[in-house]
């Protein structure tokens, strides 16, 4: 499946489209619901949105409105852990957003700085937990807001995986100690299987069929949103600078971006198609025109 990139749609706009699509699933007032087949993970979205919203005031107003009304669905521990690995520009923008949410709600989100002006829009709807795209929030409603739920989320979205506590902690955004404790409890309950691999324990899901029957079948697209947003951010950033860069520099920067994003491409099982020769900017443009464009329209394209 390929998606035609709408004429003159900038990479920054594609990035915004993905964010809008995800927020619309959560209940933010939006134009279209393009991502109903995607499982939405709210914390990576909240961390990145304030930076994107510097280009889209409506996104800022509507997402603030939603967060102030529905902050109880959000894990502040995950927010804190995700923020640890963000660029300063992301953290700066998030800090004001979080302060505004804290000022107008009972939330106590981390890294809050200076609150911004807030005018309620009252257009946001609560998340409809019965929707396929809300499976992760639905699981929180079932099992509680904890690392335990995020561990189960991981195994549902990575069928057949056997992973260590370290890998799991990185993937779910909780601390290693927390994840280790919860894995041990889930193993005792017979939900996770464990086996030693070299000098560490490797966990896998032992009752997948029962879990799926209980929480509901996940939607078709189960992306790692942290990896996805790192890719969109780095790509949009370079595309924005591209007109000011000499061709030789642009090619080097494109190669660096592709290299740096290697682990994220792997986590999403996505490849940026290599082309003949060393024209890395052409590789990245091809990725934008196909994969990124498809993502912006709610289609999963590898």
């Amino acid at each position: 499946m390929t998606a035609a990139r709408p004429a003159q749609r900038s990479v920054a706009q594609l990035e915004l489209d993905i964010a809008w699509g995800a927020w619309a699933e959560l209940g933010v007032s939006g134009w279209v619901r393009s991502h109903r087949d995607w499982a939405i993970d709210p914390e990576p979205l909240i961390v990145l949105t304030p930076l994107l919203a510097t280009r889209d005031a409506r996104l800022r107003d509507e997402t603030l409105d939603w967060c102030i009304a529905h902050w109880r669905h959000i894990s502040r521990l995950r927010l804190r852990n995700l923020l640890r690995v963000q660029a300063s520009e992301v953290i700066d923008a998030y800090g004001q957003f979080a302060a505004t949410v804290n000022q107008h709600s009972g939330a106590n989100w981390p890294e809050a700085t200076q609150a911004q002006r807030y005018i309620p829009t009252h257009r946001s709807m609560p998340p409809r937990l019965s929707q396929g795209s809300m499976i992760w929030l639905r699981m929180r409603a079932m099992f509680g807001m904890s690392a335990r739920t995020e561990i189960l989320r991981y195994f549902l979205s990575h069928r057949g995986d056997q992973v260590s506590v370290t890998e799991l902690a990185t993937a779910v955004g909780y601390t290693k100690r927390n994840v280790a404790d919860e894995c041990a409890a889930l193993h005792q309950a017979g939900v996770l299987a464990v086996r030693p691999v070299l000098n560490r324990l490797s966990y896998s899901l032992d009752r997948e069929k029962q879990l799926r029957a209980f929480v509901g079948e996940p939607p078709r697209v189960l992306p790692d949103w942290t990896a996805l947003f790192r890719i969109t951010r780095a790509t949009a950033d370079l595309a924005g600078r591209a007109p000011r860069l000499a061709a030789k520099a642009l090619n080097v920067e494109a190669n660096r971006v592709l290299h740096d994003l290697g682990p994220d491409f792997d986590r999403l099982q996505v490849s940026a198609q290599p082309l003949a020769g060393n024209d890395y900017w052409a590789v990245l443009q091809h990725f934008i025109d196909t994969t990124l464009t498809a993502w912006s329209q709610g289609q999963w394209f590898r």
Binding site: R241, R244, L245, A246, A247, K248, A249, L250, N251, V252, E253, N255, R256, H259, N278, Y280
Partner: protein, 197 residues
Amino acid sequence: MLGRTELEEALETLGAVLEGRGLSHGLLVAGGSSLLLLGLISRPTADLDVIGLAEHGTYVKADQLPPTLTRAVSDVAATLELAPTWLNNGPAPLMDLGLPEGFEGRVECRRYGTLEVHIPAREDMVCFKLYAAVDQGPGSKHFQDLQEMRATPTELSAAAVWCRSQDPSSAFESELRAAVADLTSLPRPRGDDGDGG
């Protein structure tokens, strides 16, 4: 290995990358790559030797290259498929020797974007090359470079004076005399009958 075309391409790319990142650096280079840039030799070279950093109108020994430069060098290497050390500060201790008198005034500065490459003049390169040729013998690339540069007796005599100031030992002096004798006794290309180049 880097030929002159590849070396120019790498420097142009590095300069463009630095400019795009809002960075600028000035590098004092030496070695075979400098001769290649000046068109004095044609043999490919493994790397570009940085001996100093141009800072506030003078040169300081390149004990360490700035991290921002190292990162850009590495990124260029990855893109152009060069060795990661294609630009390095290995020969920086050369600065400890003390530069020939009037060195700074003779340096040729070339700009590649926001990268400045400061190349010693021919006569100063003869000094460095002669010192290295004495150290490493007549079979060395330095000896060959002096031959290819067609270093004249006058240039070699001046260079020998500088070399003696770096190592006044009698053992070095005898090897220096032998090296200069070898170089001046070599047959010169037709039409090349004196100082020049």
